[in-house]
Every structure is written in C-alpha cells, then in structure tokens.
Amino acid sequence: MANTGWDEFEIGAMLRTFDGGIDDIAGTKQEDRSYTQNSSYTASVADWRLVKPVYNKDYCIDCQFCWVYCPDVSIISRDKKMIGVDMDHCKGCGICVEVCPTNPKSLLMFSEQADEETEIASWPSKDKGEE
C-alpha cells in the first residue's frame, strides 16, 4: 500500500482485519484465518531484536507460562503444547526466559546471529544452585 493515492483506500481510514467474513474468530486459530495485508499479523518486527529466544523442547513441561506472559503473541501453543517461537513477531524482550520454570530453562536468550542448533547442542545443564 506504500504508494497508494488518495482515491485508493477505504473512506475514514477504516481498516479491515480479515478478507471476507469470519464466523467464529475466537474459535479460529491464526493459521486458519485469512488476514488482510492490514493486519499487523502480516508484518514483522524481527528487525527490532538484538537478542532472540531459543527454545529447547527437551526440557519443556508445557506449563504455558511463556505463552500467557508473552506480550507479542509470539509463543505458539497448540493443543496445550508449546510448539515454538514466532520469530516475525518476537521483539526479544526475554520475558519468556524469565518466567520459564524448568531447570535448566527451556528457553534462553542468545544473540540474534547465534545458530539455534549449535546453542541447543551446548545447552547448559541443570543449575544445582537454584534448587
């Protein structure tokens, strides 16, 4: 929409979230919704991040603390299971890591350039000091 002229958009600067109708939004997961290009779901804030969360499912207990406390709807949980992090919408705040209760944590922050597989391979072991 970057170069649209004055005659090329809805009056009143009104925006629509979805293409066509959607009967039960609260019962429709994001992947099953047809967002318009105006939904920020279709945008990315990945370039805000200096550090990123890496998820190691080996230690995850699916407690969903990261899901409920993520400010950016970036913890993808389906059927009560944590699936991963939505890296288009994660701003790298690190809350998910802070609220993760496992030992070692199932989410840790690394530099944006870090390689996920390498970091998982060298994941820290259980921290006895925190027990």
Binding site: M1, F9, A13, L15, T17, F18, I25, A26, G27, T28, K29, Q30, R33, Q37, N38, S39, S40, Y41, T42, A43, S44, V45, W48, D62, C63, Q64, F65, W67, V68, Y69, C70, P71, D72, V73, S74, S77, D79, K80, D86, D88, H89, C90, K91, G92, C93, G94, I95, V97, E98, V99, M109
Partner: protein, 318 residues
Amino acid sequence: MSEIKKIKNLKEFSTSADRFEGANLLCPGCAHSIIVREVLNATNDDLILAASTGCLEVCTAVYPYTSWDASWIHIGFENGSTAVAGAEAMYKALKTKGRLKQPERTPKFVAFGGDGASYDIGFQWISGCMERNHDMMYIVLDNEVYANTGGQRSSSTPIGSSATTTPAGSISYGETKNKKDMMGIMAAHHIPYAAQVSPNKWKDMVKKIQKGFATEGAVFINAVSPCTTEWKFDPKNTMHLADLATDSLVFPLYEVIDGREYNITYRPKNIIPVEEYLAAQGRFKHLFKDEYKYLIKEWQERVDANWAYLQRREEAKV
C-alpha cells in the same frame, strides 16, 4: 447470557485463539499487551473494543496496520469509555428494533485507557459511563505515568517517582502528591463490579474479567502495568516487577461489589518489603539517598495502612 469460557488451568487457557496481534509497536516487554491478551482471551464472545489515546492505541492502529481481530474504535484521549458506551447504546437499540445482523451473539463491550486517559483527562467521561451503568467494562492500563508522551506525571504517579514534569533533582525527590484512589472513586459510583488486577496473577485476572463480563452493567478494572521504559527496568523483568507490585501490596488485588462489599482476592504468603519494589525501578533510584530514606519508610507505612484498611473493609461485610 452466554456461557462462561472454561479456563481451569493455564494449559486450557493456552488453547485460546488470540484476538490481538503481534508486530504492534509497543515496547519490548510492555505489560499492556499481556493484560490485553489475558482480558481478550478470557471470553469467546464477540468483542467491541475501544481505546483512548495512549501507548496501546498509538501502537496498535497505525495506518495501514491494525493489531485488532475484533471491532475496535479510537476517538480521542478522553473518550474511549464513551465511544464504547455509544456502541453499547446502539447495540441495545438495534436489538430492540430487531436489526442486529447476528442477533444470537452476546458481545462484550470493553474500553482500554492508560492512567493519563483515565485518572486525568478522561475522568469525567468514565464517571459518566459508570454512573449511567452502561453494560461495559472499562480497563485502566495503569503504569502511573504519561508513557506515550515521554514520562510526564499523572494523578496516578506515586510519591517519590521521578517523572519528566516532576523530576528528581538536587532539591527535589520528584512527585510530591499521593496517587489518586481511583478504585475508591469508582466504587463510590456503586457500580456492580470493580476490581484491581495484575497480569502476573493471570488466574485472578481471568476470574475477575469473567465475573465482569457476566455482570450486567458497568465494570471498572484497574490493571497494574509495569512500564519498562518509564519505571526504568530491564524489559525481561516485567513480570518480576508485577510480582513485586502484588506481593509488596503496593498493588493489592481485590474486588468491590456494588460499591460496598470488598473481597481481597490475593494474600501473598511472603509479603515483600516495599523497599524491594522501589529498589527494582530507576524512577525511585534517588529515594535511596540518605536524605530521602524517610520517604521509603513512609511508603511502607502507607502501604501497610491501606492493606489494613482493605482488610477492615472486607471484614465489615457491608
């Protein structure tokens, strides 16, 4: 009335399909969106939402993007409450006249505003909406400062906080006025339901929001929203700050029914000294100088007195 969404535990809650989207422009670690998600996910009913001008509004509806998956309106700084009240009035009118497109639906009307929009500039509008008892919920995202415009004091800013219009300096400890007791004022409207909530206590929050949604009439919610930018703490610590706020009893969690019946809904097992809450935030840094330490003592006394007051109100059962 619609069925209340079953949320027994966090796993069940996590099956919610969010109606608020990422890639909004809120700061990393902002508590506003955590609160918004907990509120929106507390129901499966349709939502008609409004926001007063402020962080939430300017970060979630900047053309050509919207972060809202339910109908949403913003008019100005002071009138998010009345915007939703107007929509609620139209809903009632069209229901009476049989002109609703989906008459079987049971929408919930919710307005969000910051403390600037609620305690200050929009105070009268909220009071009007509460007094008229519209079937709506007004939620304050209370970060105790005009964060969107860069940190000016509001009437929610507590004593000793350094704000840009009440900056701490060589002869000043910052804000000199008490935080306005908005819960007390709203309760005095004798609305059916008012509650203070915090995003760290998600279950308490969801329970209260659901109670609010099930209430016919006006509901007021004050939600503490730790602000990484203006409270000056690392964004990763947002929930830690919320824990400190609730467990130091600086933000006690309670509800007021019909303006009279007080229920404390969370009693911390270990009450944390207020000093720890203050120490975690840059806005109170100067209070730890020798000459201002008496303010920390006064802070503790104030919090203790308020807690005692709430407990007496609860016990009174009137």
